[in-house]
Subunit: 163 residues, 8 copies
C-alpha cells in the first residue's frame, strides 16, 4: 500500500471521489479511513502507525473547519503529508485553508486547493512524489498532462462552433 487517505468526516467522501478515481487510473494502491484529529485522536494515531507499517509513503488528510487532521498526521510522521482543506457551510473554506497551510516551522503540510479540486491534486501530487522511485509513473503523468491539454483544445473547438 502506497498512500493513506484520511477524511475527517464521512461527509467528505464525495470530496475525494475524483482523487480515488485518479489513484485507480494510475494503479497506485491506497487505504481510505474516516478519522478525526479531535473526535477520534487515539484512532488517528493508531492509523498513522498501522499505515506506516503497511509501507505507506505519502499521507493525504482531508478536513474542514478548524482542519487539524493534516497537521496532526504531519506531527507524527516524517513521510510527506498532503492536506486538503474542505469548505463547510460558513466562512467559504477560509477557516480550513488557513488551519491547514499555516503550519509552524519544522512540520510542513503540503496544502492543496479547497475541496474536490484539491483532493484530486493531492492524488496527483502523491503520484508525482512516488514517481521519484517509479519511472513508470513519470510516463503516465506525462500522458495525463497531454490528455488534459488535448481535452482543452477539443473543448475550445466545440465552443467556437457554438459561438
Amino acid at each position: 500500500m502506497k498512500i493513506a487517505i484520511f477524511i475527517g468526516s464521512d461527509s467528505d467522501h464525495g470530496v475525494v471521489k475524483d482523487a480515488l478515481a485518479i489513484l485507480k487510473e494510475f494503479k497506485v494502491s491506497f487505504g481510505l479511513e474516516v478519522t478525526s484529529a479531535h473526535r477520534s485522536p487515539a484512532r488517528t494515531f493508531k492509523l498513522i502507525k498501522d499505515y506506516e507499517e503497511k509501507g505507506v509513503e505519502v499521507f493525504i488528510a482531508v478536513a474542514g473547519k478548524a482542519a487539524h487532521l493534516a497537521g496532526i498526521v504531519a506531527a507524527h510522521t516524517v513521510k510527506p503529508v498532503i492536506g486538503v482543506p474542505v469548505e463547510s457551510s460558513s466562512l467559504d473554506g477560509l477557516d480550513a485553508l488557513l488551519s491547514t497551510v499555516q503550519m509552524p516551522k519544522g512540520v510542513p503540510v503540503a496544502t492543496m486547493a479547497l475541496g474536490k479540486t484539491g483532493a484530486a491534486n493531492a492524488a496527483l501530487l502523491a503520484i508525482q512524489i512516488l514517481s521519484l522511485k517509479d519511472s513508470s509513473l513519470v510516463t503516465k503523468l506525462k500522458e495525463y498532462r497531454e490528455k488534459m491539454a488535448a481535452q482543452i483544445e477539443a473543448k475550445s473547438k466545440k465552443i467556437q462552433q457554438k459561438s
Copy 2:
C-alpha cells in the same frame, strides 16, 4: 494546582504576562509550559495527563498561525479548554482565530480575543469557571469589575480636564 497554561512557543510569553498577573492577583495556582501540538506532540499529551493528575480544572492554550494547540488539548480531556489565538507576522491573526474557534461538533474550545487581551480574558474566564465551586472568587470577580468601572470613570475625568 487549578489551571494549566500551555503556550505554543516561548515567543508567546509576553502574550500571557497580564494573564499570569491576574491569576496571581486572584491567588489561583497555575502551571505554565511551552509545548507545541506539532513540534512536541508527545510532550503535549504527557503534560495534559500530568496536569490532570495534579488536579487542574481548566486548561488554557495559547498559539498562533495554524493554532491547533487548544483543539488538541480539548481532544484529550473533558475539562474546559480555553483557546487564545495569537497574531503572527502575517494574516492579522485570522489564521489563529479560525484555527482555534471552528472546532467540530463534540469537542468545544472556549475561544478568546486575539493576543494579550484574549490571554487576560482566558485567566478571568478560568476564574469565573472555578468560582462555581469557590464563592470567594465570586466576590473577588465582582470587586475586579467594580474597580474596572471606577478606573474608566477616573480616566473620563482626566480626559475632560485635558479637552
Copy 3:
C-alpha cells in the same frame, strides 16, 4: 435550573436544536428565551437577573450580525458566558464571529464555532463546566466521547465497503 440559553431571534431556534437535545441527553436543566441586546435590552437585563436567581451557572447567548448578545450578558454577570455566532445572509458569519469573540480586557465571552456546530459545542462546554461540581457528568462526557469515536470507526468501515 443550570443553564440559560438566550437566542437573539426566533429564527435562531433551528440553530440550537442539537444543543437542546444534548442538554436533555445529559439531563441538565435549562431555560430558553428569545431576547435581543438591541431590540429588547430591558428584557435582556431582567432575564439575566431572573436566571441568576434561579441558580443558573452558565449562560449561552446565540446571535448573528453585530452579535452583541453574549457580550452584553457577560457585562452583567460574573458567571461564565458562552457565545455562539450565527451566520446571516451576508458576510459568511464573519460579522457575528468577530462581534462575539473580540471582547475587551475584563469581560470574556467563551466563543464557539459558527452556527449549529457551535451551539452544540456550547451545550457540551456548559456541561464540562458544570462537571467540575458534578462528577456524574464527567462519566457521561467520557461516554459521549467514546460513542463519538466509535461512530467514526463505524462510518469508516461503511465507506470502505462502498469504495
Copy 4:
C-alpha cells in the same frame, strides 16, 4: 449641549482629536466621556439618560474590537447614534467595523469610516443633522466644503511645481 461623544477607552482620545476641533470650529457644544458597553455598562446607561436630559440631539460612540458601544447606546435612545469603529492591534479594524455596522432591523447605527477619519466625519454628520434645525450651520457646512475644495486645488498646484 448638542452632542455627546462616548469613547470606549481613554486610548481612543487621539482618534477624536480632529472631531473635537471640528465641533469647536462650528461652535457646536458637546460632552466627552470615556465609557464602555462591557466594562462600565451601568455608567453608560446613566450617561445616555443624563445627556438626553441635557438636551443632546446626537450621540457619537467610538470603540474598537467587538465594538458594541454605539449599538448599546442606540438600543437606549431614539436620537440618532453615530458609530466610529477603531482599528486595534489585530484584524485591521474589520472586527470593529462589522460589530458597529451590522445592526439588526429596528436599531440603526450610522457607521463612519475607521479611525480618525471616521471620527471627524461623525462630527460633520452630527452637524449636518443639527443643521436641519439651525440654518446657520448650513452656511458653515457649505463654507467648509468650499475651503476643502480650495485646499485641494492649492495642493495640486504645489505638487505640479515639484514634479
Copy 5:
C-alpha cells in the same frame, strides 16, 4: 417631501420594500428613484438638486458592488446621506460595504447594515433625524421600539411552548 431614496438598480427594489413600508407606517413622505453614480451620473446630479428643491431633508442611497452612489450624493449636498450597501453575487457584500463606509474626511455617509436590514434601518434613521424637528415622530419611534420588544417576548413564549 422629506426623504429621497435612490437605488442603483431596479434589482434593488426588493431590498427597499421594508424601508418603504416603514416610511408609510410613520407617514413620512418620500420619493423613490432608480439612478446610478456611473451609468446615469447626469441624472443623479439633477435628481439631487430637484429633491433638495422639493425640501428633502435626508437622502438614502442603496447600491451594490463598487457602491459609489451614497458617496457621490454626499459629495453634492450637505444634507445627511444614509448609505445602504447591497450584497451582489460575489464577495459577500464586502465590496459594497467598504465602498460605502470608507469615505474620506469631509464627506460622511451614514452607513447601514447590508441589504434589506440596512434599508429598513436607513428609513428608521431618517425618521430619527426628522424627529429632531417633529416631536410626533419621537412618540411613534418609542411606540415602534416597544412593539418590537413586545413581539420578541411573544415569540419567546411561542418557542418555549414548542421546546
Copy 6:
C-alpha cells in the same frame, strides 16, 4: 481580428456571453479560445503568437481560482491585456481577483470586476482602447452610454408606478 478572448475553462463560456454580444453589437471582430495557463501552457503561448500575427490589438483572459491566465498572457505580449476574475465554488472569487490584479511591477493586467459583469466590461474597455484609432467606435460608445442612462430612467418610472 481585433480582440482575442481566452477562457480558462469551457465552464467559463456562460461568463463571457454578454461580452460576446457587446462585441457583436459594436461589430468588433474577435476570436474565442479555451486555454489554460497550467493545463495547456504550450497551447496558450502558441495562441498568443498566432493571434498577434492575426493583428489582434487587445487580449482578454477569463479565469477562476489561482487565475494566472491573464498574467501569463501579459508576460508574453506588450499589447494591453484585460483580466476577468471568475468566482468559483469557494472563497467568493477573492482568489481569482487577487491572482489577477496583484501583478508585479513591469507587467500590468487591466483587471475587471468579477464574473459576467467584468467580462462585459472587458469587452467595453477593449472597444474603448480600439476607439483611440477608430473614431466610429467613439460615437457608438457614447450612444451605448446614452441608451444605458435612458434605460435607467425608464426603469425608475416603472418602479414608481409599482410603489
Copy 7:
C-alpha cells in the same frame, strides 16, 4: 498631452513617483492633478473635460479608502480609465481595491495592483494602449521588458555569489 493622472490626495504623490519616471523615460507627455471625487467633485468634472480637450487619450486615477475617483472619471468619459487603489492605514487596501475594481456593467475601470507597483503598471498600461497608434512605443516597451529580464538574471548571479 497624452495622459492625465489624478491623485485623490497630495499624500498619494509618493505613490505615483515611479509612474512619473516611467512616463518621462518613455517620453510620453502627461498632466498631474490632485482632485477628489468627494471633496472637489466640480473640479474633477472640469478637469476631465479640460484634459479631454487637451487631447488626453488615457486617464489614470489613484485613490485610497472608498476609492471612487477612477469610477467617477470613467462615468464621464469613454476614454480608457486606469484605476490604482492605494492602501491606507486600515483594512490593508482591500477597501480601495474593491471600490475600484467592482464597477457595474457598462463603465469599466482597468484596475491595477495596490500602491506604487500598481501606479507604475498604470503608466506602462497607458503606454501599451498608446502604442496601438505609435509603433515607436512598441519598440521601447519590448526593450523595457528585455532590460527587466536582464536585471533579474544579473541579480540572480549576485545572490548566487553571496549564498
Copy 8:
C-alpha cells in the same frame, strides 16, 4: 543537484535564509535562482529544463503578490513543486497565498505557510520527499524532530524559572 529554488525577486533572499541553512544542515545539494513568471518567463522555462537535466527532483518556488511562479513551474514539470507565498506590503499575504494554493485540477502545487516559516518548511518537505529514496535522510529527519522537541522542553524550563 537535488533541489532547485526559484525566488521571484532578489528581495525574497531573506525569506529563504533558514531554508538554505536547513538544506546545508541535511547536506542536500541545491541551486538558487532569481527568476519571475512574468518579468523573465523565457528564463524561467529555460531554468526548469536546465535543472531537470541536472537531475533535480523537487522544485521550490517563492513569490509574493499574484504569485504565479510555483504554478508556472508546476505547469512545465511533473516533478513535485512546492510553493511558498510571500507577504508583500499590502493585503497581508492573502494575495500570494491564494494565488499559490488555488491551482486547477491537474497541476498541484504543494503550498507552504507564508514567508520564512513556509520557506523553511519547503526545505523540510523537499527532504521528506527525497527521503523516500534515501533512508539516511529519514534518520536525520527524526533527529531534527527530536532536537526540536528537546528545545521546546528546554525553553519551557527557562520560562518557568522567569515566571
